[in-house]
């Protein structure tokens, strides 16, 4: 189960399991992001390289205009995946 929701303040809440079967669902939301955005990952349980790919493509696009994604409330397992991928220096992680 994966869900992606846009909060009233413009931040995006990810929840459940962001795996390869969810890429198309996520893409539909991420392609609409045009400015710096907070991703609330408090309820995100899992992410794989497929999910990382969606976030990375968005981050690269935003970085071209000096903007970016900020990830908050990562669980320790997901934080480790970001570190193993070398993404902890590419994304702002709080």
């Amino acid at each position: 189960m994966f869900d992606i929701a846009v909060n009233d303040d413009g931040s995006i809440r990810l929840s459940g399991r962001f795996d390869a079967s969810q890429v198309d669902t996520a893409q539909r939301v991420f392609v609409e992001i045009t400015g710096s955005t907070v991703l609330d990952c408090e309820d995100l349980k899992y992410i794989s390289s497929a999910g990382l790919g969606v976030l990375f493509a968005t981050q690269k696009r935003l970085m071209d205009s000096g903007q970016g994604l900020k990830l908050v409330h990562l669980n320790p397992h997901i934080r480790e995946v970001f570190q193993l991928a070398g993404f902890d220096t590419i994304f702002e992680i709080a």
């Binding site: 079967s21 899992y46 794989s48 390289s49 990375f56 320790p76 397992h77 193993l84 070398g86 590419i90």
Partner: protein
């Protein structure tokens, strides 16, 4: 052991098999996360690289107190060695990196052993994850 349809949409079935087996054997949450991640990355690679393979990919899990062995078997396929994939340079700046290519890198990083065997159209990918202090 379970036969899973070779479709990306079968991932939920793959995770359910791993989590069910791990729960029965009191495997800790961190190890379950690592097994799920390794299984997804290897399964999706088989689905994408072995187009024309059989309808299912067989997945087996052997859990003992010291280590967990997970095996994925694909049938009627061409030889492909995941260990032959070039390592991703995670220290490159974002501008020089491309999306994708991370799957095998993550698997190699989170499991203790990744091996591959090919015989007569049948490919077996085996990962070993030590349970270490989490026994």
């Amino acid at each position: 052991m379970i036969d899973i349809p070779r479709e990306i949409s079968s991932l939920s079935e793959l995770f359910a098999f791993i989590e069910g087996s791990c729960t029965e054997n009191l495997v800790d949450e961190k190890t379950v996360f690592a097994l799920n991640l390794a299984a997804e990355e290897l399964f999706t690679n088989l689905v994408r690289h072995n187009v024309g393979g059989s309808d299912v990919i067989r997945v087996g899990l052997e859990i003992n107190p010291e280590r967990i062995e997970m095996r994925l078997v694909d049938f009627n396929v061409q030889k492909f060695d995941p260990n032959s994939v070039d390592d991703v340079d995670i220290d490159r700046p974002a501008e020089e990196r491309q999306p994708g290519g991370l799957g095998i890198h993550l698997v190699k990083s989170i499991v203790d052993q990744l091996t591959y065997a090919y015989k007569a159209g049948e490919m077996t990918v085996t990962v070993i994850k030590n349970r270490g202090e989490n026994v």
